[in-house]
Symmetry: C2
């Protein structure tokens, strides 16, 4: 005797999701078995909808319901500055600050040698293609400040250096509102290194 | 700017699942966005199928594709012994041992005072109803050996004691193949308490 076929199929499908092992898959499957038919239907529908209605912007790979994302479609944005991020959620985070008026380029990941993610799996060729068109004057590399993000930034730097484009990296340092004594050594070292003139 | 509607809906649906917080929901949602349409469709279909094709056995509350589960339908099983477990997966675990030939009763949970799960949420009335029919001669309480499982066992004992039915509890003790020195104190104390004659 094993689990009935529909349950086995669900467990297999759940275990393919990131961060879901056999235990969590079981927990979720039994939850779905017990919850209302309506809630289960909503989840299934949401999965289908997200695949059918959302895609990646063909220019910048941000999430979009149309061919071009709302940022790329906005004529008020400055096409001469491109901010390079790892994920669509990073676009959202930067948009929330309201302090960037250029366009984005989403790499859809970061170079992660330990996980076998090489540059060829990211949208780097597509970025170089955009740069080759001559409109872009500055590229801000806003990949994460972790190891993979830094490796990715270094890789981009190698590819873009030499082109007539200003290449910048967002600053690392003490988080705003945080105490110096709580900063880890690496952050503090970076903060010192990245010091600016005080006007 | 926020996430597009389909993504927001998916995140909300995912966050309702047990053990899935905002971070894991995001991770899963972006995974689904990037995976093949076929894999996403399979997951959605598996969720729908499990709700439409699986239900709980009307007699013992084991999972079943029919009104009665395969165990309850099997004429070779001994209806005079009922093994009470917390979850359908416990039925599977016991079936795998091949050493039980009676029927089951799945409580669909355990009494958990800290989580607000009282006996009224479990299939206890249904168990008492089965016992009242006079066929059952032994009830083996095989709830988990943790706190909730023991509370549940004690509660069942109070309800069944006094009826002309043998009431037993599965043994706690040193796991087979494991060393005495590695057993925790509670397990060791239980193992001593539950000692048997050596023939």
């Amino acid at each position: 005797m094993t689990y009935a076929k529909p349950l086995t199929m669900l467990l297999q499908a759940l275990e393919r999701l990131p961060g879901i092992g056999p235990r969590s898959a079981e927990r979720i499957a039994f939850y779905l078995l017990r919850t209302s038919r309506e809630e289960a239907r909503q989840l299934a529908q949401a999965i289908v909808d997200v695949k059918e209605r959302l895609r990646f912007c063909t220019l910048c790979f941000n999430l979009s319901e149309a061919d071009r994302c709302p940022v790329c479609q906005d004529p008020a944005r400055d096409p001469s500055i491109i901010c390079v991020v790892e994920e669509p959620k990073d676009v959202l985070a930067i948009e929330k600050t309201g302090s960037f008026r250029g366009l984005y380029h989403v790499l859809l990941g970061a170079i992660a040698p330990l996980e076998g993610v090489g540059p060829e799996l990211l949208k780097i060729d597509e970025l170089l293609h955009r740069l080759s068109e001559g409109t872009v004057q500055e590229v801000i590399v806003a990949t994460d400040a972790d190891k993979d993000g830094e490796i990715t930034a270094a890789h981009l730097s190698k590819l873009i250096r030499g082109k007539p484009i200003r290449l910048t990296r967002i600053a690392s340092g003490i988080p705003v509102g945080s105490h110096l004594e709580y900063a880890d050594q690496a952050t503090l070292a970076r903060a010192l290194e990245g010091r600016r003139e005080l006007f």
